[in-house]
Amino acid sequence: MDLIWQGMGQAFWLVAHGDREIIGVALLTLGVSLSATILSLLVGIPAGAFLALNRFPGRQVIVSVVNTGMGLPPVVVGLFITILLWRNGPLGLMQILYTPTAIVIAQFVIAAPVVIGLTIAAIQQLNPRLRLQILALGASRWQMVALLLREARLPLLAAIMAGFGAVISEVGASMMVGGNILDETRVLTTATVLETSKGNFDVAIALSVLLLFLVFAVNLGLTLIQQRRRPL
């Protein structure tokens, strides 16, 4: 228990002191995970909307694949992405293994199914006649999709939080595709693993506290947007 208080104190000290290494790791973590989340939103929300609003053969299969993907283990993603990105592997020419880009890709693969799946659910919980009503008021197809997404904004923000939460907290994929290289690909989770294996529990706890704080800050921001002007 002492260790936890000690770690929290250290976390505060490291940040207040402006420890460049820790702050660099924290900023990288935030940058990588936010980028991956935003990419997954750019792909996942349109894809989810498409799957929710259209009926075509094979749709059920795709939705099942997406739902399975929502529980994709990060290490599995990490392993496959690593093998794909190996310099002698199929995508080796991109030369992005052990870079933040590789982590963003892996985290995107983890977050995208979460965002797609929750977007499908968010749109399907809307009254199906709402689509007709919006069209009947003179909306183009794009205007209708935009309005439906806006109507589903509360569950969509939950989707964003779930996607972000999934990627910022994962360690397996970041470790494998990033390599946990200081100043390049070391993020808070991999740094925590490293410090734990070094036995530096106080630093590990400090990193964990910092990670929790970042997740909290981002979710607080999203929650404030989500719950704004909802008096009931």
Binding site: R20, S35, R87, N88, Y98, G179, I181, D183, L194, S197
Partner: protein, 306 residues
């Protein structure tokens, strides 16, 4: 409100863009542990290669023990500064480090499992293999020492006593260099601990394994560096040391360039030369002395290898 929603998305986007910019490889920052040894050493006279090498990307696959001890946090920035290479240090188990070399996914290896390394060289996966340094393994256990192994001269005898006492033994079980040495020692005793009640595998790194052993009052084999570096977290004593069988010998291996055109031959060669260079060896030989009262490694470059 719709516009607000879009605005929120845009805000997140703009927030993330500069952060991404930061995420591109930055210049190595100073770490606390880095300053101490470099001040204790004369700065290498090698002229800093300001001109970047043609292919600056160098992948070093190494063991977690070198990273956990903090030695690489000193040596890698030194090497990068001297040569201009950009080293990607991938710290994994020795098994995975050798496998990465075999698949030409690493350019140079720093590993400590001599038997596997010899097989690796015989199979033609490596180009050159040079002795760098050693530290030693120690058998550690609870101060109460239920198997009475304190002061025993050889690891062989100590393990036999642990078996006889059915005292708890904690193994890493992660195919690391440390575990490979442990396996070799068990083989010499002619005993097979696998599946015994008193034999536990953690599947984790050295630091974590030491903690498990400490927690459960068990014995384990550790490298001295990690043991010393993590002393504050556990209550294990050194019970057996200085047996020749317990030496932990590190070699640097350059991966055979014929395996793939992507191998950074020049970089690997430069790293190999750097590791055995006198200045580097001086740093290695003093590393950790200020912090633990004794150095963690013994510089061995150029010595007779067996």
């Amino acid at each position: 409100m719709f516009r607000n929603f879009i605005a929120a998305i845009l805000l997140v986007l703009t927030l993330a863009t500069p952060l991404l910019g930061c995420s591109s490889p930055a210049a190595p920052t100073a770490t606390p542990s880095q300053k101490a040894p470099s001040s204790a050493t004369s700065q290498p006279a090698t002229p800093a290669a300001n001109a970047k090498p043609a292919n600056p990307q160098l992948i070093l696959a190494t063991t977690t023990s070198t990273q956990d001890s903090g030695l690489l946090d000193v040596l890698v920035p030194m090497f990068e500064k001297q040569t201009g290479y950009d080293v990607k240090t991938i710290a994994v188990g020795t098994g995975q480090a050798l496998a990465m070399g075999e698949r030409a996914e690493a350019d140079v290896l720093l590993v400590h499992a001599p038997d596997s390394e010899k097989k690796f060289m015989q199979a033609g996966h490596g180009a050159e293999r040079k002795l760098v340094m050693h530290n030693d393994f120690i058998i550690v256990g609870p101060p109460a020492d239920p198997a009475k192994i304190k002061g025993v001269k050889t690891a062989d005898e100590a393990l036999k006593k642990i078996v006889a006492a059915k005292a708890l033994f904690v193994s890493r079980g992660d195919n690391s260099g440390t575990e490979q040495l442990e396996k070799k020692l068990w083989k010499q005793t002619g005993l097979d601990p696998k599946g015994q009640d008193w034999y536990k595998q953690t599947g984790q790194g050295m630091g974590a394994t030491l903690n498990v052993a400490s927690d459960k009052n068990g014995y384990t084999i550790s490298d001295r560096a990690t043991y010393l570096a993590t002393k504050k977290n556990h209550s294990l004593d050194i019970l057996v040391e200085a047996d020749k069988a317990l030496l932990n010998i590190y070699h640097v291996i350059t991966v055979n360039p014929q395996k793939s055109p992507k191998i950074n031959v020049a970089g690997a060669k430069a790293f190999e030369e750097f590791m055995v260079a006198p200045d580097t060896q001086a740093v290695v030989g003093k590393f950790g002395a200020d912090k633990f009262g004794q150095p963690l490694f013994f510089a061995d470059a150029g010595k007779q290898d067996n």
